[in-house]
């Protein structure tokens, strides 16, 4: 059963019931009132007739006429004949004995009607005043007209029911259809969205509850659409990462497999054997680095960090120890400068971040250039910065720099055994610190990467 069916049926039943009950009550009340006034009228008429008969008898008595039954009958008869024309019948009884009966043909020619309406006769009896108390006048009045009127009213009422019912159904149908139109619209839109078209919205501009519902529904749809596109974006990122990972694995695996094949099956001299062995080794190291970096990323993602005060001088010492030799081997200079004593963070992770950034800077720099590592305060935030004056990156390269496995210059940095995960790792480290990484670069002018640590000393 549809909602509008229910409303229509409920309203119809309630309305008809209320109408009928009230009309029946009104009819009943009016019947009572009519009866009462009829009775009153009858009573006063009877009284009037009784008194007239009494006076007539009195005057006859004063004139000395004996009150024999003939006189009584003749007096009553004169009244009876007079009132018969008004539809009133009179009877006179003396000590319960009928002296003057109602004459037949009160309403001549209406015998059958009278017979059918016989029960609708109002009968009143009262004794005459003294000294005629042995006489009783019976007053009979035909009230079938009243009954006929009531029946006419009843018929009319039933007819109205038959007319009003269908009319009400039609009007209610139109009204309900109009009122539940927004519901239909909402339902259709919901169906479209359920089928996967999240861009659909309900177009409804009313200010009632439906309007409110539509507004909230649209808000919900917008949020869902946003979430869905976020999810799709994330899935795409993941897919790209997996594709890249596949590529990263394929290249070292190809050479490892090939050189191992060469060593076991081919007739090669010792120099080539050594060369093949070295390649297998270096590619293994590359795979190992990749595996560890991936592991680092995964650990960072799943372990909350305990932040502590990190002394900048000792942080720089650690980093210099790790990287000094490599920097020097490439003919570069490492310069470290700090204007703040300490930062909040995890010493190992911050060191790893600086090492990663320096290793990124080495292959892009030319011999004689300087790599600068700086620590300072800016707008209440602690900043760690690594600057190089190397080849720099284009806008497109800067934008993609944080993507896992992205390399601005693939062959050169790969020659260094880089997995292409350095900046991804840096960003993870920054996020673990609730900080952020910013990259600034221009082709030919070098690159600087800043880590902003929100909590400083």
């Amino acid at each position: 059963m549809r909602f509008w069916h229910k409303i229509l049926l409920a309203v119809l039943v309630l309305f008809i019931a209320a109408l009928d009950v009230s009309v029946v009550m009104v009819l009943k009340k009016s019947w009572q009132l009519n009866m009462a006034s009829e009775r009153k009228r009858a009573a006063s008429e009877q009284l009037l007739i009784t008194n007239s008969i009494y006076e007539n008898l009195e005057s006859n008595r004063f004139r000395g006429m004996s009150l024999n039954p003939e006189l009584l009958v003749s007096v009553t008869q004169s009244y009876g004949q007079h009132y018969r024309k008004q539809g009133i019948g009179l009877e006179l009884r003396e000590n319960g004995r009928l002296l003057y009966p109602i004459e037949d043909g009160v309403s001549p020619g209406q015998e059958e009607t009278r017979a059918a309406q016989e029960e609708h006769i109002m009968t009143l009896a009262m004794p005459l005043p003294a000294p005629y108390q042995h006489l009783e006048l019976v007053y009979k009045r035909d009230i079938s007209g009243l009954y006929a009127q009531q029946e006419e009213l009843n018929r009319f009422f039933v007819m109205i029911n038959w007319i009003v019912g269908p009319l009400l159904v039609v009007l209610l149908y139109l009204l309900i259809r109009h009122l539940t139109k927004p519901l239909k619209l909402l339902s259709e839109t919901t169906k479209t969205i359920a089928e996967g078209d999240y861009s659909k919205r309900v177009e409804l501009n009313s200010r009632d509850e439906f309007g409110e519902l539509a507004f909230n529904f649209n808000k919900m749809a917008t949020v869902i659409e946003q979430r869905m596109s976020d999810l799709a974006g994330m899935a795409e990122d993941k897919q790209r990462m997996v594709d890249n990972l596949a590529h990263e694995l394929r290249t070292p695996l190809t050479s490892m497999q090939g050189f191992a094949e060469l060593l076991t099956t081919a007739n090669i001299d010792q120099d080539d054997q050594v060369k093949a062995g070295r390649y297998i080794l270096s590619e293994t190291v590359r795979l190992k680095n990749l595996a560890f970096k991936l592991l680092d990323l995964s650990v960072l993602r799943h372990q909350p960090l305990v932040l502590a005060e990190v002394d900048v001088a000792s942080l720089f010492d650690t980093v210099a120890q790790t990287e000094q030799q490599r920097v020097r081997d490439n003919g570069l200079l490492l310069e470290m400068n700090s204007s703040i004593p300490a930062v909040w963070g995890d010493a190992d992770l911050l060191a790893a971040l600086l090492v990663n950034l320096i290793e990124n800077a080495i292959p892009v720099s030319r011999p004689g250039q300087t790599i600068r590592v700086l620590a300072y305060q800016q707008d209440g935030e602690g900043v760690l910065e690594v600057q190089d004056s190397g080849s720099g990156m284009t806008e497109e390269q800067s934008r993609r720099a944080f993507e896992p496995f992205y390399r601005a210059d693939s062959s050169r940095s790969r020659a260094y055994g880089h997995a292409g995960l350095g900046l991804s790792l840096c960003r993870q480290i920054a996020e673990a610190h609730q900080g952020r990484v910013e990259l600034q670069s221009a082709p030919g002018e070098g690159t600087s990467i800043r880590l902003f640590l929100s909590s400083t000393l």
């Binding site: 394929r250 050479s255 497999q257 081919a266 090669i268």
Partner: protein, 219 residues
């Protein structure tokens, strides 16, 4: 044999390919980026180019457009096996396509197919007193024609094309008899014995312990 230009930015893979080319008797030149290919081809002509698609600077497809007028056969090498990439490669005139990671034997087989199609495969192979003429399918020892069965000749050709590389019995069956041959690997042993006897190559065709056979020729 052929002179092959290998264009591959990964040094390890470049060396891997060239070492194998050297083993089977090809000569080679190495390039590590797309932009140097045209210059190198100007200096010395190559019979075939093995070209990586993902190169720094000019990528493999760019290189193909640049060198198209020279009409040198090209085999593309790439880590990406996407259909669109392959189609693009063939549209640009690549002769074949090989996806990393690849087996060396497969690469060599594809190289041979392309060279033969372009009639640049060696038509004869000479070693010791033996001369093998591939086009005539004849083998001469000391200027005397030796009678080989068809299968023996196929096996000999596989050994020569992949010389200095050990081939398992299964691989030999696959290459000389065909994929659908359901024979025993001992069949290979019988045919090898025949070849050794007929050509006097008891020392040349080595049995490699646990692996199979290898035709050893000085590089």
């Amino acid at each position: 044999m052929a002179h092959i230009l290998v264009v591959e930015d990964e040094q390890a893979i470049n060396d891997l390919i060239t070492m194998n080319l050297k083993l089977v008797g090809h000569t080679y030149a190495k390039a590590y980026s797309g932009s140097e290919v045209a210059d190198m081809l100007e200096k010395e002509r190559a019979d075939l180019i093995l070209l990586d698609v993902m190169l720094p600077g000019l990528d493999g497809f760019g290189v193909m457009e640049q060198i198209a007028p020279l009409r040198i056969p090209v085999i593309l090498i790439t880590a990406r096996g996407a259909l669109s990439d392959r189609i693009r490669g063939f549209e640009l005139g690549a002769d074949d396509y090989i996806i990393k990671p690849f087996e060396i034997l497969e690469l060599l087989a594809r190289i041979n197919v392309v060279l033969r199609r372009n009639e640049q495969a060696a038509s004869a192979f000479v070693c010791d007193r033996v001369e093998v003429r591939f086009t005539e399918r004849q083998v001469w020892v000391d200027q005397l024609l030796v009678d080989l069965t068809a299968r023996e000749f196929e096996l000999l050709e596989v050994l020569i094309r992949n010389r200095n590389i050990a081939l398992s019995r299964e691989k030999l069956l696959e290459l000389a008899w065909g994929y659908d041959y359901a024979g025993d690997t001992r069949t290979v042993d019988v045919h090898i014995r025949q070849l050794r006897k007929k050509l006097g190559w008891e020392e040349r065709i080595k049995t490699v312990f646990k692996l199979g056979y290898r035709l050893e020729v000085q590089v």
